[in-house]
């Protein structure tokens, strides 16, 4: 892909903001990277889905930046 579309640029800018915000708080970075990586293979034409995820991400970014958020942990199912 030679040039990014407007939407792609917005997504990349959002990714940057997430990485910057999640740098100092433990546990967020792997989650951010996985989430973006997983959704990276949505078709470019599926704009509704992309915009929905984008709005959701903006809200989550606000939550991340909130001073009261300290860290993120996950539970995994062990055997």
């Amino acid at each position: 892909m030679a040039r990014h579309s407007k939407l792609q640029k917005q997504v990349l800018a959002l990714y940057r903001q997430f990485l910057r915000a999640g740098r100092d708080k433990p546990g967020f970075l792997p989650r951010i990277r996985d989430e973006f990586r997983e959704n990276a293979n949505i078709k470019k034409t599926d704009v509704m889905h992309i915009e929905y995820l984008y709005r959701r991400a903006q809200r989550q970014l606000e939550q991340l930046k909130d001073v009261n958020t300290k860290q993120l942990g996950t539970f995994t199912k062990g055997k």
Partner: protein
Amino acid sequence: MASRALHQCVRSLGRPSLWLLPTNLAVRVPPVFAAAALRPLSFTAASRKTRWLGQSYISSGVLCRQYSDLPPLTLDTIKDRVMYVLKLYDKINPERLQTSSHFMKDLGLDSLDQVEIIMAMEDEFGFEIPDAEAEKLMTPSEIVNYIADKKDVYE
């Protein structure tokens, strides 16, 4: 924090020499101290501390302190640092990395990885790269040229 360190330096000199200091010293300690404090994870943090060259008597016989800034950037050091950071990135195969290797075509990375790489470069060199220009930097040599351009390094 910087003022406390300065205070300790001043106290360690002993009282009498204080009065000999000329009043128009150019002290460039505070901004470098702040930069060093904020970036403990960068591998060059150790080399970023100011070096106190010690007291020296200038020709008029007055005692003065000298502080130095970071060592001047050269194209070679920029290139070495850029390649070092790229080698540390886990998605890049260090053997296949050269200065002309394109991130997407040769190394098989995607745009999200490119954003991460540019952010690592921002952390390494300590200045922000705006999004519009960041998305155009696709090879290590382009990054080196961009940084040299921004930092006024020429050879």
